[in-house]
Symmetry: C2
Amino acid sequence: MDLLADQFIQFNPQRGTMEGAKVVERRLSDLRGYFVDEAAYEAALAQEDSLVYTVSSVMPAEGESQLHYGLGMIMPGRIGAEYYLTKGHFHAWRPAAELYIGLRGEGVMLLEDEATGESKLVPLIPNSAVYVPGFTAHRTINTGKVPLTYLGVYPAQAGHDYGLIAERNFRKVVLAVDGKPTLRDRVL
Amino acid sequence: MDLLADQFIQFNPQRGTMEGAKVVERRLSDLRGYFVDEAAYEAALAQEDSLVYTVSSVMPAEGESQLHYGLGMIMPGRIGAEYYLTKGHFHAWRPAAELYIGLRGEGVMLLEDEATGESKLVPLIPNSAVYVPGFTAHRTINTGKVPLTYLGVYPAQAGHDYGLIAERNFRKVVLAVDGKPTLRDRVL
């Protein structure tokens, strides 16, 4: 009984890397339309197409009883007053939950209930876990000064639905107000 | 949208505790029949009914799309040459996988395929993940000198089947041979 591929995976919480994982990189140019301050976005992009985040994914097996997982790393930074963030998504299979585990840095998860539109912020920090229920859009945000790294574990058939968020974004934004992460209505 | 119970949980990898979790404690007296060296077991128990491991579990929601998780802590120790271990289990829902994430210490997972009876050892150490496929009995073993702590994440409906292992145990044991964890056939 040999070790399966992806049965034992090592990761680096400092560097935000995971051995043998499939890596997706998102730069500023991939995130047009996601930040509320469009002028600040264009100015930042004109300076440099900075790396905003990476997601390294491991998919050991497929099927309803299986799990997939990923390691995310979001760089520290802001566009205007808005912290660097992930695009955010629903699961394609809406009831699917996800468990996040903070590894390094300081961040928050922005959750938005699909049915009610209600939002909440949950801290994402080392030695803690955040449960994202089904039917909930979720975005990860780095509110600190170092890279934010975390694991996410989800049912293999959860899938990712980025379309709805790309179209209408989250209703709330997380801004630095007096240096503190603050939840505000999106005003365009 | 208030924070759900169990939506944000903090844990302590050093102490092996998790806030607000349901804790199960296993002492030597709970583990009669699990260690291969019965004389060494009775001698150890006569001295002290030591704590062998704890499992702290969080069950945020029920249903096929949900996840449960737990934090395990196994104390360092041996019964004869055999390292302190968990009882080990199959999932009641046999196809269910589980993802383990090492937090502290040095250990191994003993996996046994239900259909073939084949065994393997996978390291369980900090900054690494072990994927336990479905249809596989799994036991966690502390081969180090400090408490071994780890997280386990699994589908909410996985369930635990301890009966089969209680009856016939694993086919292999992990013994300290020249100070190194070594996989051997169980000899009674």
